[in-house]
Every structure is written in C-alpha cells, then in structure tokens.
C-alpha cells in the first residue's frame, strides 16, 4: 500500500505563484483525475511531485509513504517508485532509446540481465505497435506525438512504478492509439495495484481509464472534487461554471 499526501502546497517559479494551498491524498488502487483550464498549474503539479528543480516550494509538504520528499532529488523520487509520463517528452540527440532504457532499468534492478531486458523491450514495442528498430534511434528524436506517448508508457512498464503521474498522455494520440494506451495503462494498474494521477482535458481517455476521483483545478488549487459524474458535468457546463466558492460545497 502506497500513499502520496500533499498538504498546503504552495509553489512558485521566478516569483510567480503557480500552486496555492493545494491538498490531495492518493492511495494505491485509486485513480485520480485532475481537470481544468490551461495554465492553472496542472502540469506544474506533476513536475513538482517529481522534483523538477525549476520550481520552488514555498510552503507545504509532499509525503510519499509517510516520508517527506520535498527535498529529495528527482532520481531519488524515481527510485521510490514515482513515475511521470510527460506532456512533452524531451528529445535527446545522441542518446539512443536502447542505451537510455538500459541505463534506467539496470539502475533499478539489482540483478539486471541484458537478454531478458532486450526480450522484454522488444515484446513491449510489438504490443504497442512500434517498430523494434526505434530502440536504436535517438531518444524521442523524430518520433511522432503518438510514438513519444507510447514510449513513455513502455518506460512505465519497464520501470514498474507504484505511483504514476500521467500528464496529458492522450495528446498526440490517434483514436486507435488512444484506445491501446488507455487499455495498457489500465492493464498495468490492475496488475500492479498502483496509484494513478491523471491530468487531462478530455473525456475520451476516461472511456478507458475509469477514475475513482475527479478534481477540478483552478488558480492553483482544487476547487471541486467528485466522482466520475463530474466529468460529464464539465463536458456539459465547461470550466467557467465552477468557481472557487464550489470548494466549500
């Protein structure tokens, strides 16, 4: 059982407040979705949980399994089992997918063995309808938007995290790829009994990933929480219908 607990979190970058008095608790076997208009701190939240040094926590705590992780480095958080599937995965010239995956997985696994790793990578690429030759290409360089997102989920499968942060994993995916990625995320969730925090703008991904909790975020904090029915309410009314006053309902 794993728990992420965010208490009174305040975050700024270059003196600008992005997240304010943010509270959220996520347990294993729970899927939380955060929805909200552009530019209100949703992606920032996932990066701050992952430990992006660009952001400054001015107040509040992030705890994972009862341990305060505010001051842990990004790689230390990753080794605790936190994984962030990024909205715009970096393209890194010269570093091949294979070298990167091998470095990351061998760091995680004490008894790393190359042949089973290669076999697992090739099987995953096939399952995600990706050409296995892409492992020899520079990391995310020249990948389509959909290929980048699939590559993120393949990394998730290889690293086997216990808390998954999915930042707009649906962007750039065509209809078939969206279904495949959605189903693969759910397959992993059910098998590993992990926790998921999903950032999305659209209902379409939620046809495959069924949330237990839905939160509306505005002005850097959660203003309304509910169950899956809240998604339909957002689709119908739009974000403007929700205000800070909803927070106390």
């Amino acid at each position: 059982m794993h728990t992420l607990k965010i208490k009174d979190l305040n975050v700024e970058i270059d003196g600008k407040k992005i997240i304010q008095d943010f509270n959220l608790t996520i347990n294993s076997k729970e899927i939380h979705v955060i929805m909200g208009p552009n530019g209100i701190g949703k992606s920032t939240l996932t990066k701050v949980i992952m430990g992006d040094p660009s952001y400054k926590i001015t107040k509040g705590t992030i705890e994972y399994d009862g341990k305060k992780i505010n001051n842990l480095k990004t790689d230390e958080r990753a080794r605790l089992g936190i994984f962030l599937s990024m909205q715009n995965p970096s393209e890194i010239e010269g570093v091949t997918n294979a070298d990167f995956l091998k470095a990351a997985v061998s760091k995680k696994q004490e008894n790393f063995k190359l042949l089973p790793f290669v076999k697992e990578v090739n099987e995953l690429y096939k399952e995600f309808n990706m050409d296995t030759n892409m492992t020899n290409r520079p990391l995310n360089v020249g990948f389509s938007g959909g290929e980048k997102k699939k590559n993120e989920i393949i990394q998730m499968y290889l690293l086997k995290p216990s808390l998954i942060l999915l930042d707009e994993v649906d962007s750039g995916l065509d209809v078939d790829s969206l279904k495949l990625v959605g189903e693969k995320i759910m397959e992993y969730y059910q098998k590993e009994e992990c926790a998921i925090l999903l950032i999305t703008h659209y209902q379409r991904l939620l046809d495959y990933i069924k949330p237990d909790f839905v939160h509306i975020m505005k002005q850097g904090s959660i203003i309304k929480s509910g169950d899956n029915s809240l998604v339909a309410e957002v689709e119908k009314k739009g974000y403007n219908a929700f205000t800070k006053e909803d927070e106390n309902e």
Binding site: M50, T74, D75, L84, I92, G94, D99, F100, A103, K107
Partner: protein
C-alpha cells in the same frame, strides 16, 4: 585498411599499400612533414597519441577517387596544419575524434575541380584551449564542403572554431554547409565564428552555431527515470561525442584504452 600511427612526432606504424604514395620528412622546428598522394579509392587510419605533436600534412586526391580518412588524436599539445587538394569528381570523407589538451590547427581545403567534395565530421573533447581554423576554397563549379563540428569542453577546456567558406564569382552550383556545436561542461569562454564569403549567386550556403550546456529539461527527463544527475550527464555527453563511424570508434577504443 591503410594505417599510419604517430607517437610524439615519430612514425610508429606505417602500413600503406599502393593506393597511397607517401612521403615523410622532418622539417625545421621539429615539424613532421607528411605528404599523401591518393591514387585509388582507399581508406586510411591515422592515429596520433603524443605529448607534443607538430605536423604539416598535405593530402593530394586525384580525380574520380573516394578517400576515407579516420583520424583519432589523443595529445597534450598539438600544432597541426592540414591541406587537402581535391580534384575532379573526388570525394574525401574525414571522420575525426580528438581529445587534446592544447590544440592549434589549420585546415585548408582546396576544391580545385568540378564536383570535388569534402565532408568532415569532427568530434572533439577539449581539456584546455583548442583553436581550429577551417577554410574551404571553392575553386571550381559544383564543389561541396560539408563540415559538422561537435565539441565538448571539460575541466579547463575551451574551443574556438573559425570556419570559413569562400566561393568565387563564376563557380556556380557550389555547396557550403557549416554546422558547429559546442557543449559546455564548465564556465570557460568559447567562440564559433562561421564566415561565408560568397561572390557567386548560384550557391547553397548554410551555417549553424550552438554553444551551450546541457538543457535542464533534458536532465530532468533522464533523472525522472532514476538516473543520477552525473549519470544523466555522462549519458548525454557520451551520446554527443559518440562517432557514428564504428571503425573510428573501434580504433579509438583500442588505442586510447
């Protein structure tokens, strides 16, 4: 493959076949003068691992020849002048991998006849100051010079690239393509000076220059997968200076240890 290995300005291995006519002389100020006449399609492995290296190299490439030069250099101090004279329909491909403390180098490329072409792929690890002047003279129509410089600065390393392409009036259909990048892992000053001196209108001329450190978002991406900051940096640098040429990589691995 033809082989020429140098250590401390002395030839320690010379294995050259009939495709190359070679002449080696010791000049004044301890300069080693090497002349290579390329007579047929061929490949040369040229390795230099020296405390001090002073070389004056002239390479003459006859018409209709493809010449591949794999150059690996690991030196404390080097002062080198290379001159390439390339004739009609000949192609010279140069793959370089250098790790030098203090370097001063001049490359003069004379593209003397139609369709002469030189490609240089230059990977360079600078541990002290390295200054590289590279000048291509397009003396005939449809000549091409393509250079890709990739440097990394470590410790007290810094780099200066002066890359100049000269296309005279009347030499139509030439291509000059200069791509210079320096990845800085210290706070030393670096300089890239791309110069295109073009008198002719019918020409394709490009240049790009980048000096900078590893992007924070790249480091964040790699560390988010569990790699430490230094491991992520190593991975990026290794990828940056990795030659795509397996032969040269193999030569360097074997000879540099």
């Amino acid at each position: 493959m033809n082989k020429l290995h140098i250590k401390n300005n002395k030839i320690i291995k010379q294995d050259i076949d009939s495709s190359i006519k070679i002449s080696i002389k010791e000049g004044i100020y301890d300069i080693l003068k090497i002349e290579l006449h390329i007579l047929k399609d061929t490949t040369l492995e040229f390795i230099d691992f020296s405390d001090t290296s002073k070389l004056d190299i002239k390479i003459y490439v006859d018409s209709n020849i493809t010449f591949n030069l794999y150059e690996g250099r690991n030196a404390k101090k080097s002062k080198i002048q290379n001159k390439f004279y390339v004739q009609e329909n000949s192609v010279v491909n140069v793959e370089r991998l250098y790790q030098i403390k203090h370097a001063k180098q001049l490359d003069l490329i004379f593209l003397n006849e139609t369709n002469a072409m030189v490609n240089i792929n230059f990977i360079n690890v600078a541990l002290d100051h390295g200054k590289y002047d590279i000048i291509s003279y397009h003396n005939a129509c449809k000549t091409k010079f393509i250079i890709k410089n990739r440097g990394v600065t470590l410790k007290k390393g810094s780099l200066t690239y002066h890359v100049t392409g000269i296309v005279y009036n009347g030499t139509k259909g030439c291509v000059v393509d200069q791509n210079n990048r320096i990845l800085t892992l210290n706070d030393e000053k670096n300089l890239i000076k791309p110069v295109l001196l073009i008198e002719e209108e019918d020409v394709i001329a490009n240049h790009s220059a980048y000096i900078g450190s590893i992007k924070p978002e790249e480091l964040f991406y790699l560390t988010s997968r569990g790699l430490s900051s230094s491991e992520a940096t190593n991975l990026i640098v290794k990828g940056y200076i990795q030659t795509t040429n397996d032969s040269l990589q193999n030569i360097v691995d074997v000879n540099w240890g």
